[in-house]
């Protein structure tokens, strides 16, 4: 954890709190991009957090970055701060300079992208589906092949044909079609595909976990507030036994995923990763279903109105759990890891990191 973390977090929260109103989030759903908030984030260096200054970032470590992303989830920021931070973190991993561009990174195993050369330029063709924030991005980072090698390519979604779709939260999730889009060679970087994708899924998975943890904490706050304020038959709701049972399970799920979040970020930071991200995304995704359901049941009819804040959080939870691998994806990966490792180790030893290198560090 960087020493600056407390200060960074506090100043980020101050900005988010002051500038993210329910109305601004509503406006996103109506198709407006909140330029003002975005500029503020850029001006405060929040979009390049976690990237070393030598690569154009403001510095800080992964802890800092994910804590800011968690807060962005809590305040349901109507701009793609999490996406841009993630894209910048990934660029910095391959030593590419970052800047203040509004960018995101997109990867889908079934992407049908194609890069061809055309004299000094390259041409990109193909279709990308479900690109979050697509229509508003200045730059999209994609992974593709050229001449049997793997590359990361920066491309502008504005040069594609955009079919506007949206996710469950009303955030843009567009289909982009690229037809002979020219790519400048300087926007192409060769990569080791396997390690890049693994890295991306790990950081992407934890990005989503961060956002979901932030939103879940805020949901718990809303539920505690409501059940304390609102009365039924003359007593505050939280005096009802059944409401208490709901609040307790809601708190349990929330504490579970947020505690786990701290452990997974620590493991990422220390590069001591085996199954941690899989585990984190699985338990967080699984908890989301109960958290959203319980919160709505507690809130009753008021909570399903568009006027209420609750759905801005629950709809995001339902959307975010689908990104960077759902439960099935990570379960598959985790199971493979469990099958792969040497059979002579018991499960207990495996989940207690009984490997020489770990015991000796």
């Amino acid at each position: 954890m960087s020493e600056m973390q407390d200060i960074i977090i506090q100043s980020a929260e101050k900005i988010f709190k002051r500038h993210t109103t329910k109305e601004l989030v509503d406006e996103l759903e109506e198709g407006k991009f909140d330029e003002k908030t975005w500029k503020l984030l850029v001006d405060n260096g929040l979009t390049t957090i976690g990237v070393p200054e030598s690569l154009g970032g403001v510095g800080g470590d992964l802890q800092d970055a994910f804590q800011v992303i968690k807060l962005s989830g809590k305040y349901t920021l109507p701009v793609p701060l999490a996406e841009t931070i993630l894209a910048n973190l990934m660029l910095s991993r391959i030593e590419v300079q970052v800047d203040t561009t509004l960018r995101s990174i997109h990867f889908n195993e079934s992407d049908g992208l194609n890069l061809e050369s055309d004299k000094e330029q390259f041409l990109m063709n193909g279709q990308l589906n479900n690109v979050t924030w697509g229509r508003f991005l200045e730059e999209l980072i994609v992974v593709t092949k050229y001449n049997h090698k793997d590359y990361v390519v920066k491309v502008s979604p504005q040069q594609s044909k955009i079919e506007k779709r949206q996710n469950l939260a009303g955030e843009p999730m567009d289909d982009l079609e690229f037809r002979n889009v020219q790519i400048n060679p300087e926007n192409i970087t060769e990569i080791n595909r396997e390690s890049f994708i693994k890295n991306l899924m790990d950081l992407g998975g934890v990005t989503k976990v961060s956002q979901m943890c932030g939103a879940s904490e805020e949901i718990l706050n809303l539920c505690l507030f409501l059940t304390n304020e609102r009365k039924q038959f003359g007593r505050p709701l939280n005096r009802l036994q059944i409401i208490q049972q709901y609040l307790a399970t809601l708190a349990g799920d929330t504490v579970n995923i947020t505690t786990n979040f701290d452990y997974v970020v620590d493991a990422l930071e220390k590069h001591q990763m085996t199954y941690e991200v899989a585990n984190s995304k699985i338990i967080t995704n699984t908890a989301i279903r109960r958290i959203a359901e319980t919160a709505h049941q507690i809130h009753g009819a008021v909570g399903v109105t568009h006027e209420h804040k609750l759905h801005q959080l629950t709809r995001r939870l339902w959307s975010w759990r689908e990104e960077f691998g759902n439960e099935q994806f990570w379960t598959q990966l985790f199971a493979e890891k469990l099958m792969d490792e040497p059979n002579e180790l018991s499960l207990w030893k495996k989940i207690n990191n009984q490997k020489e290198e770990l015991v000796n560090t």
């Binding site: 079919e163 779709r165 038959f233 359901e293 709505h296 009819a301 909570g303 006027e307 709809r315 689908e322």
Partner: protein, 384 residues
């Protein structure tokens, strides 16, 4: 076991099955013609005046009503079969839903001859839509503490107050409104309530739509400011409104709409799994299909109990509790079977139906009696 928990096994006759096939071919024809696209929760969100008219022409609205009032004198089991088919195919039935399900039977039971002649034929033709005015702002689940007040004047009442969560009021002609016609009494909160038919286009009536979380518009708040309600718009007995309303609610708890709201998604996924020859996926779909089958058996049994004139209070609450939880589970289980990101306005039918199902889910276990209230009814009922 307690008698109230013993449900009869209902048998659908050959005639019932033939009727089912008749409805089904009509619906398949309509889909082919493009008159509607199957959608989930179509009894809440599927609004089509044209489609309602067509059903009216077929005699499939108010079909249990006597012929003299425009009905078909068919049994409630036949209506059950009809509703199942409409919902399974995701047909747009929201417009006439409450008039068909509640207002028609209510007017038949409590209405005056002139009310029956005036409203029932139009309801059956799909030309007269009703909304229900029960809940009020800030009243929570405590329905008995209603504040909306009808003051007696020459030839009728002046109505003041407001109703909330009225589905479809912005698209209906009338609202069946429960209101206070006498001062509230300390010792009996249920006394002094009456049911009035409110013309939603009348002076003094205004409607404020309440957007649902997905941005759609189903609910409304309806305000009354000295709205004049003519004397002959009183339904049933003055002061008997509470009893009449509660009967209305209990009767309609266990219908197919408490089980099938998300069925169109199941069907689509089933077809998808077949097409892809995905056996592992099919195994994951089996528990959903199993639950669906047994819930329909229970629901049909309750319909039979109703037809036999028995008390269905506990049984209906059980079906609604379990059925609505099932409706909610459907999308949550299916999202882990198919590889489709929920996406609104997607070109992929499954991605769209999952979206609709998840967004509509929170309402399933709230509308028409929350899970917690239903379970209270069940537990207390068993201990009588």
């Amino acid at each position: 076991m307690l008698a109230s928990l013993k449900l009869p096994k209902a048998t659908l006759s050959k005639e019932h099955n033939e009727f089912r096939l008749e409805v089904r071919s009509f619906l398949e024809e309509e889909i082919k013609k493009g008159s509607f696209h199957p959608s989930v929760d179509s009894w809440m969100g599927g609004y089509s005046i044209e489609f309602s008219r067509k059903l009216g022409e077929k005699g499939w609205i108010g079909m249990t009503l006597p012929k003299e009032y425009g009905g078909q004198e068919r049994t409630s089991i036949e209506r059950y079969v009809l509703i199942e088919e409409l919902l399974a195919y995701g047909a747009p039935v929201a417009a006439h839903w409450f008039a068909d399900r509640q207002t028609g039977p209510l007017l038949l039971k409590y209405g005056t001859e002139s009310q029956k002649n005036r409203f029932l034929p139009k309801i059956s033709k799909g030309e007269c839509f009703f909304s229900i005015g029960l809940s009020e702002p800030n009243a929570g689940s405590d329905l008995a503490s209603l504040k909306t007040r009808a003051t007696k004047v020459e030839g009728g009442w002046l109505l003041n107050g407001s109703k909330i969560w009225s589905s479809g009021a912005h698209l209906s002609h009338y609202m069946l409104t429960l209101c206070r016609t006498e001062e509230q009494k300390e010792n009996n909160k249920h006394a002094g309530l009456s049911q009035l038919i409110v013309d939603l286009s009348a002076e003094g009536v205004s409607i404020r739509p309440i957007k649902y979380l997905s941005g759609e518009n189903h609910f409304n708040e309806v305000f009354f400011e000295d709205a004049f309600i003519p004397e002959d718009h009183l339904v049933g007995e003055e002061g008997n409104g509470w009893v009449q309303s509660m009967q209305e609610l209990a009767f309609e708890r266990s219908g197919p709409e408490r089980i099938l709201s998300t069925y169109p998604l199941i069907e689509e996924v089933y077809q998808d799994l077949l097409t892809n020859n995905d056996f592992e996926g099919m195994k994951k779909l089996v528990p959903i299909i199993s639950e669906l089958i047994s819930l329909r058996q229970m629901s049909l049994s309750v319909a039979q109990l109703l037809e036999d004139g028995e008390d269905v209070n506990i049984a209906a609450a059980i079906v609604k509790d379990m059925g609505t939880r099932f409706e909610k589970n459907v999308a949550e289980e299916i999202r882990l079977i198919v590889n489709q990101k929920p996406s609104q306005f997607s070109s992929n039918q499954i991605a769209r139906l999952i979206s609709e199902s998840i967004l509509h889910s929170p309402g399933f276990t709230l509308r028409g009696g929350t899970t917690e209230i239903l379970r209270g009814i069940i537990a207390k009922g068993m201990n009588k």
